[in-house]
């Protein structure tokens, strides 16, 4: 893919995916813009108001209106920042659940299996070896499926299921 100057917009709430895909797109000679939400993307599509206005005094009434508009814009930016922080916390919590907790759980299960077999020395060694060298190759997909299961049954109110 040559340098076409084409713009690729990327919308993903996971910051690591967003950064990684953006780098990949840029490495292919394209330009990338990143957004963490659909609302952020739509806001970027709307025409932007200039940050500075030069007004005739006769346009004072309009100026007052614009001041109010600016206050409204600042309030919206503040709300968006607050919402972004909340989203980030939820994402971190979800990531902790999907990866760390499940990997820990899997390792613990392997260790427990090894402990249960300690009376049979040879099998215990083999199980411990498996626990040490275990690689969660299938974990990303299993994790996603597990998350779906949990979201549907237990905590749908916290994580939006789409």
């Amino acid at each position: 893919m040559s340098d076409t100057g084409a713009f690729v917009y990327l919308v993903d709430d996971d910051v690591s995916v967003r950064e990684g895909v953006a780098r990949l797109v840029r490495s292919a000679g394209l330009m990338a813009k990143r957004f963490s939400s659909g609302d952020g993307f739509l806001a970027a599509l709307r025409p932007k108001l200039p940050s500075c206005w030069v007004l005739d005094m006769a346009l004072l009434a309009i100026g007052r209106g614009l001041s109010r508009l600016r206050v409204y814009q600042i309030a919206r930016e503040f709300d968006a920042r607050l919402e972004g922080r909340l989203d980030e916390r939820l994402r971190v919590a979800r990531e902790l659940h999907d990866t760390m907790l499940q990997r820990f759980q899997a390792s613990l299960a392997q260790m427990q299996a090894a402990r249960n077999l300690f009376s049979r020395r040879h099998q215990a060694t083999q199980n411990l070896e498996r626990a040490i060298t275990w690689r969660p190759k299938r974990l990303p997909r299993d994790g996603a499926q597990f998350r779906d299961y949990v979201v549907r049954r237990r905590i749908g109110g916290i994580w939006k299921s789409c």
Partner: protein, 100 residues
């Protein structure tokens, strides 16, 4: 005074599951407002057939399952850019993911 124009995307790489407005909702919103942007959907939910069917549209180029390879993504983006360049005529059917 005319507001400055915002550069429109030539391709949109869109996560299906997003906080607030989902990727599917955003895509519907764009189509309803006649924003003609080819979309590459990405998702970590391979078993969600409903989302897959809802994502299908004339402007959906690919539906990739995470983790996807570099080639899969760049091929899809390349196809989307070609599609955009060709315009609405001679559109091919949406490309299917290799994870199906």
């Amino acid at each position: 005074m005319e507001p400055p124009r915002t550069r429109r995307p030539d391709c949109l790489v869109l996560d299906v599951c997003l906080p607030g407005m989902s990727g599917i909702d955003l895509h519907r919103h764009l189509v309803a407002r006649n924003h003609k942007v080819p979309v590459v959907f990405i998702t970590a939910h391979p078993s969600d057939d409903r989302a897959r069917s809802e994502a299908a549209s004339d402007w959906t180029v690919a539906y990739l399952i995470k983790p996807f390879s570099e080639d899969e993504l760049l091929d899809a983006v390349n196809a989307a850019l070609k599609w955009k360049a060709r315009g609405e005529t001679n559109r091919a059917k949406p490309r299917r993911s290799s994870h199906e």
